[in-house]
């Protein structure tokens, strides 16, 4: 459970057997292979599913603030899983769980996660040769790499994306703070990321909370409807109480 929580804001997934996924020249092929594997193994919401369509729209709002290569096509898949999680798989492909849609406190926080994952691609984290430092985690049959420096870069870029798209730029820090208070094993890592944002003056809230769009509210309602009757080991309510 705690691993899943931390993965909410960790970034980069690689096909476990791949050997060139860290190199830019192989990114497109590796991303396509990852997407194919996820489609055959993971319970994904269909592309026409209203929750997936909403997430794609939310990402589109973030994309509109980008220039040049950032305006490329982005693809977001939503996996059915009660545990909140998200990761980028290179070449504009991002996967998140519907547990994340249920977990976030507001739409800006969900946008912050999407922006963070987009930032991994925009910052060229998939183009760096090798993967020195950091830690690997397995997610399904994929290997996910966590590197503190890359995470801080992605957090910083995400705040910029949030501001450009009119979301609360403080949502990135507020979500990290909550994760830090909910996951003792990763508290230090997450707190360091909050402190990095604070040092750069990027942790302050810029808008009044409670401006969730009807699309967000409907997506969350649909997810919670699907969650009815499903027992979860993940206690979202208490996780948020700890963050207040």
């Amino acid at each position: 459970m705690f691993i899943a929580l931390v993965l909410v804001l960790s970034g980069i997934s690689f096909v476990a057997s791949g050997d060139e996924t860290g190199a830019c020249y192989g990114t497109r092929e590796a991303s396509a292979e990852t997407a194919q594997r996820i489609a055959s193994e993971w319970p994904l919401r269909a592309s026409g599913d209203p929750v997936t369509a909403y997430v794609q729209q939310l990402a589109e709002r973030l994309r509109e603030g980008l220039d040049g290569a950032g305006r490329k096509r982005w693809r977001f898949d939503v996996a059915r899983n009660l545990a909140p999680s998200a990761f980028a798989a290179g070449d504009g492909y991002v996967v998140l769980t519907d547990g994340l849609v249920s977990f976030v406190r507001d739409e800006s926080q969900l946008a912050a996660v999407l922006a963070h994952e987009m930032a991994h691609v925009l910052e060229g984290h998939f183009c760096r040769p090798g993967r020195q430092g950091g830690r690997d985690y397995q997610v399904g049959t994929l290997v996910q790499h966590y590197d503190a420096a890359a995470e801080e870069e992605a957090d910083t870029r995400a705040v910029e994306l949030l501001r450009r798209a009119g979301f609360d730029p403080g949502a990135m820090a507020s979500l990290l703070r909550c994760l830090a208070s909910s996951t003792p094993s990763f508290r230090n890592q997450l707190n360091r990321r909050v402190q990095a944002l604070e040092r750069r003056g990027l942790a302050r809230s810029g808008t009044v909370p409670g401006r969730d769009s009807p699309g967000f509210r409907e997506a969350r309602r649909l997810v919670e409807e699907d969650f009815k009757g499903l027992e979860s080991a993940f206690d979202i309510e208490n996780a948020w109480k700890r963050c207040q």
Partner: protein, 184 residues
């Protein structure tokens, strides 16, 4: 009509009457009454129960991996519905429909089996009429086919019914939909 069929029909009749009363009270017009009756009609489905529940492993873990290109063991239990079906797809009121869920269960290499929850919900016009009790059983990894027969009441209203198939293991769950039509 068997004893159980009579019970169901009676339940539907009472449901429709009570529903009409509720509708009329709430909205004081004929449309309200119709809506109330529809709610009452749905009550008949509370008599639905699972008959002939069956589950069998239809693919070994290796066969499932070959068929769907699964590369290596997962690190936490994962489920994916391959197909949900209702058969036959068109019936008359009072007949039975067999609902079947075919799914893949993936488990970590160190886990030989785990508890899986399988459930179905019956919907019409976007509303849940009835949720069949979840079946929770130990399952080994591979492909599973689980099915149940549901008796559609003799007074079920005509139209398209949607069956929501749902399977859950750990935090992973999946859903699929199939449909059948009740003809007048």
């Amino acid at each position: 009509m068997g004893e159980e069929g009579q019970m169901q029909a009676l339940g539907a009749g009472l449901g429709a009457a009570v529903g009409c009363g509720i509708g009329a009270l709430v909205t004081r017009d004929a449309r309200g009454c119709a809506a109330g009756a529809a709610i009452g009609g749905a009550i008949a489905f509370t008599a639905v129960k699972i008959n002939q529940y069956q589950a069998k492993q239809v693919r070994s873990s290796k066969a499932d991996a070959r068929l769907y290109g699964l590369a290596k063991p997962v690190n936490s239990p994962q489920v994916k519905i391959r197909k949900g079906t209702s058969n036959p797809t068109a019936i008359k009121p009072g007949q039975a429909v067999t609902i079947t869920t075919d799914y893949s269960l993936m488990l970590p290499a160190s886990t030989s089996d785990t508890k899986v929850s399988e459930s179905w919900a019956l919907k019409k016009d976007g509303k849940v009429l009835y949720t069949l009790p979840a079946q929770v059983n130990e399952r080994t990894p591979g492909g599973w086919s689980t099915s149940a027969a549901i008796d559609v009441p003799k007074n079920a209203s005509p139209g398209t019914y949607v069956v929501e198939h749902k399977v859950k293991v750990g935090s992973s769950y999946d859903t699929d939909e199939s449909t059948f039509v009740v003809k007048s």
